[in-house]
Amino acid sequence: MSAPPKIAFRDVHLAFGPKQVLKGVGLEVQKGDSLVVIGGSGSGKSVLIKTVLGITTPDSGQVLVDGVDVVGARGRDREALNNRIGMLFQGGALFDSLTVWENVAFGLIQTGAAKGKAARAKAIETLARVGLDEAVADLLPVELSGGMQKRVALARAIADQPEIIFFDEPTTGLDPIMSDVINHLIVECVRDLGATAITITHDMRSARTIANRVAMIYDGKIVWDGPVDKLDAGENPYVDQFVHGRAEGPIQMTVRR
């Protein structure tokens, strides 16, 4: 019998008020995969990964990690689970009252994995992995450029060596060169940690660099799911339209969210 998928969504439904965001998402991510979820703005991409972290709770359906349903997990179970997951937020979400190294070491200190000098050393070691040197460790996040903040946020996400990493629009708001730098850092980090990754993006360059599998979400459902080299095969009209960025096609842009 084969091992259960690392992460699986089974018929996940979620509504915010009258707005149905997820309408029965079904998706599986195998251990070690780097899945990129593509889809238009407001299509519920970010919400999907937040259901795994318990930040949002689906109305129905299952979210399985290693075959265990994590919907509604609370207290210690939730903490233990989230310990195994790292997340890079869209805007970085660095704590602006803390210095760079305190941000990176935050998870380590909270779980008691490291303290004081050891935590700082570990933070600096992690910063080095994302190409930042010790000089930035004592700065505040606001003193850094957008690209640097993203790197620090990435360092924070990987600091306690998670088995699962989520990247929410990692290249949004960055120039093309910095985007490429971040993309390659993500690829390296995921490979080095041997982690399972889900990346949310609408940046196709980014998707092609990071992914070995791609899934497309449209209108609250996964409309296509396959290996990255099938992306251009033209199997699916939605994917085809999105990948080529055409205004005409089955996807109609709505003005209101």
Binding site: K50, L53, M87, L94, F95, D96, Q110, T111
Partner: protein, 257 residues
Amino acid sequence: MNVLARIGAVVLAFFEAVGRVAIFAGSALYHCIAPPFHGRQVLRQLIDVGYYSLPVVALTTLFSGMVLALQSYTGFARFSAEDAVANVVVLSMTRELAPVLAGLMVAGRIGASMAAEIGTMRVTEQIDALATLSTHPMKYLVAPRIFAGVTMLPVLVLIGDVIGALGGYLVGVYRLGFNASAYMQQTWNFVETMDVVSGLVKAGIFGFIVTLMGCYHGYNSRGGAQGVGVATTNAVVSSAILILIANYFVTESFFSK
């Protein structure tokens, strides 16, 4: 029918809000007493609420005590009851003015800044980030603030009591020509433990109201800079109103015989 439906909707919305605040308050109190504690956060809030509010509270109570002496003197002179000035000043300060004024000033200073800080953390996903780093946001952000409010406001009010009485003394002795030791004697003879204690109990309740409202509105803010602005306004307005309402009922329970 339409009118009834509207009234019903307003009433339901009101009770929904009350319920949300109550659940939030319950959770906050639970996290105040259940370990682990975030000592650094608690200390930071104690200093912010207690120490940095001191000048504002001191100035407010000083001038209130002064004006109270002046007003009651001009009023009581008509009945040749000038001797009562010291009593009026000390009773009004300890029972009413110090706690209410300190509460309102702290609502403007602390409640607003808490709503703005936590609100910004919410809209920049920093609160979600806490949850992914094995830290309960209620425990890390809300509990230390509520604890600081409940413990520090009584301290501020106690200091305010003394400064308010001093204000009355200064005006009484240097402006209205009272005998210094007689004024002191009058003040000291008339103030009872219950007067001070009731004021301190009020202060604790107001401290809870201010920090709860600041945290609640910040925590539930939505939608960018405007949302944070709305949260800040709501925090200050709701705490000011709740302070005045609570003040009546606490007074009622202490002094109605």
